[in-house]
């Protein structure tokens, strides 16, 4: 795939605070890329660098292979949807959307047509004469989207655009964004701190932390094969078990003890005897079984059950005092319902679902 944007060894600081550290990232043509991370991880700064609102301290940004470091925002073929929407309050919806085209001196008839198309694309064809303050939050959001997309940018930058919406509207806007992105075929770079949003919308997710990239991958890869402890804990719910390597068995396998359990690690990690490691287990991979059941790998006491509608969330306290979370789906066998709080239970999981992290 052809790269649209390349960040090469980007460093950016504000005073003593380094926000991005020697960061490399390539964005492919037509993809929906999400920058995910906690606040202060540098994701918004990365977006602002690409938009041209900030300049990197060092490194180079390429747009279609051309360096754009020195170009001001008005000369870059990228457009931004702001978190606060930043609609011009004194202009009508039509004039807001037409603003970019007027700056480019697109003639009247063509302009009219393109603005109307853009408003129709975001489902607001009749709203041209209204002022932004006469619109609801969700409608303002869509005007902001139309205002950016009407310019047919090479890349559309979205800075947490859904964070101000309520959860239902958010879900429907996620769908709208995704379909819109497919139909226009423009590269989207989306910034969010919401992992669920990132997983459900993106082709690729970039997980960031302290100005560095922790992992890049498809949503499934990020969720199922997190590259680090940070990613595992940031994306989705997780149970972490601590283990220690006891001795080497052969070239590819090691003996280890996890929660008092002897196990064999088949890992290419360069572990040595005495090294500590973590085992990640997602709550939905754990199943409650009878403690005497052969498949029970860990045992403990069921201390809490929370009915969530789609799932039944169970908290199991192991003998070591560690608490594990298990989510049972009702479409599976309903054995979790057989257990009572206070009862001793076993925990099982399908081998291979666990992930070893340093």
């Amino acid at each position: 795939m052809k790269p649209v944007v390349e960040f090469l060894a980007i460093t950016k600081s504000y005073g003593a605070n380094t926000v991005l550290r020697n960061l490399d990232l390539t964005i492919a043509e037509g993809e929906f890329l999400t920058l995910l991370g906690p606040s202060g991880c540098g994701k918004t700064t990365l977006l602002r660098l690409l938009a041209g609102f900030e300049r990197p301290d060092s490194g180079e940004i390429l747009l279609d292979g051309e360096p754009v470091n020195a170009l001001p925002p008005d000369q870059r073929n990228v457009n931004t949807v702001f978190q606060s929407y930043a609609l011009f309050p004194h202009l009508s919806v039509f004039d807001n959307v037409a603003f970019g085209l007027r700056m480019k001196k697109i003639p009247g008839k063509d302009l009219q047509e393109r603005v109307e198309q853009a408003l129709a694309a975001v489902d607001l064809p009749e709203f041209g004469t209204r002022k932004p303050r006469q619109l609801s939050g969700g409608q303002q959001q869509r005007v902001a989207l139309a205002r950016a997309l009407v310019n047919r940018p090479r890349v559309l930058l979205l800075d947490e655009p859904l964070s101000a919406l309520d959860s239902k509207l958010r879900k429907s806007m996620q769908m709208t964004l995704k379909t819109l992105q497919r139909s226009v075929g423009i590269t989207f770079v989306f910034v969010t701190h919401d992992q669920e949003e990132a997983l459900s919308m993106s082709d690729r997710v970039v997980v960031m932390r302290d100005g560095r990239i922790e992992q890049i991958g498809g949503p499934r890869e990020i969720y199922e094969k997190p590259a680090s402890l940070f990613v595992a804990q940031f994306v989705g719910e997780s149970n972490l078990l601590e283990g220690v390597i006891t001795h080497r068995l052969d070239a590819t396998s090691l003996a280890a003890k996890v929660e008092g359990l002897d196990c064999v690690l088949r890992q290419t990690h360069t572990y040595r005897t005495g090294d500590r490691f973590n085992v990640l287990l997602r709550p939905e991979d754990l199943h409650l079984v009878d403690p005497s059941d052969l498949s029970a790998r860990l045992r403990g006491q069921l201390v809490e059950q929370i009915y969530k509608g789609m799932t039944l969330d169970c908290v199991v306290e192991l003998d070591s005092g560690k608490r594990l979370f298990a989510s049972e789906f009702f479409d599976q066998e309903e054995h979790a319902l057989d257990f009572q709080v206070g009862q001793r239970v076993g925990l099982s999981w399908v081998g291979g679902r666990e992930r070893v992290l340093k």
Binding site: A51, G52, F53, P72, P73, D74, V78, N79, T80, F82, Q83, S84, A86, L87, F88, P89, H90, F99, G100, M103, K104, K131, R133, R147, A148, N151
Partner: protein, 255 residues
């Protein structure tokens, strides 16, 4: 308790507006010398209209007020946009200095301007008066405009440049229209300040350019003539109208 409250309010507003009410009332009194009420009359307004020196002073005052308000708006708005838009060393200091000039007593400004003009060998008259009025109106405009701009989303200018607007286009098409009510309010405020000013004008104008407040002052020194009442009543009406318009503009919701 309710009675006490409304009584207190009446006292305050009576204290504030009674003198003006008396003044306006007596401007319609036909008696020339006594404060005794005789009959309703418009004589004093008529005699005002025929007094050439008074008319000339009025025209001078209006001219200086209009020009200094416009100048102060032009310079002050640019200053406000600069303080709002750009981050530079000493920005906070500049903003603080604005308040200093706003608060400093008229007499201090008057004397310092006079000293400056004399030191520069500028002849006192229309130009010195205009410059002085512009100077003391300037912080009012800048602060009014700046506080309105600060109420707007900081991303608006970024959005404009993101959509292809140059710096000038962003200021012309986004910042100025948004600031317009505050600029107008600043203009009206400056207009009244200039129109009413005695202290600064007294120091910085020359004998051949007389303005209304100074004219009134010299008339009063020889005893309060009924014409002065009429003139003051007119000035009060103009100021009131202008202040009300300014308040209306400032309180109007951003569109």
């Amino acid at each position: 308790m309710e009675k006490l409250k409304s009584g207190y309010m009446a006292l305050i507003f009576g204290f504030l507006y009674l003198p003006m009410a008396v003044l306006v009332l007596y401007s319609f009194n036909s008696s020339k010398y006594s404060i005794r009420w005789e009959a309703f009359s418009l004589d004093w307004y008529r005699s005002l209209a025929t007094d050439d020196t008074l008319l000339e002073a009025s025209m001078n005052s209006l001219l200086v007020a209009c020009l200094s308000a416009s100048l102060a708006c032009a310079v002050g708005t640019l200053g406000a946009v600069g303080l709002y838009r750009y981050r530079f060393k000493g920005r906070k200091l500049l903003q603080g200095l604005l308040f200093v000039t706003l608060m400093s007593p008229d007499i201090v400004m008057a004397v310092s301007l006079l000293v400056l003009f004399i030191a520069m060998h500028v002849k006192l008259g229309f130009w010195t008066l205009l410059l002085s009025h512009t100077t003391f109106c300037l912080p009012f405009v800048t602060i009014t405009v700046l506080s309105r701009l600060e109420g707007f989303d900081r991303h608006l200018i970024e959005a404009a440049s993101d959509l292809g607007a140059s710096e000038w286009q962003a200021i012309r098409q986004i910042v100025l229209p948004l600031a317009m009510p505050a600029i107008m309010a600043g203009w009206l405020l400056s207009f009244t300040l200039s129109l009413d000013d005695v202290v600064v004008s007294f120091f910085v104008t020359g004998p051949e350019f007389e303005v209304l407040p100074l004219k009134i002052y010299s008339m009063v020194r020889l005893g309060v003539k009924p014409e002065v009442n009429a003139l003051a009543a007119l000035l009060f009406a103009v100021s009131l109208g202008v202040v009300i318009s300014a308040q209306y503009l400032l309180q109007r919701k951003p569109q």
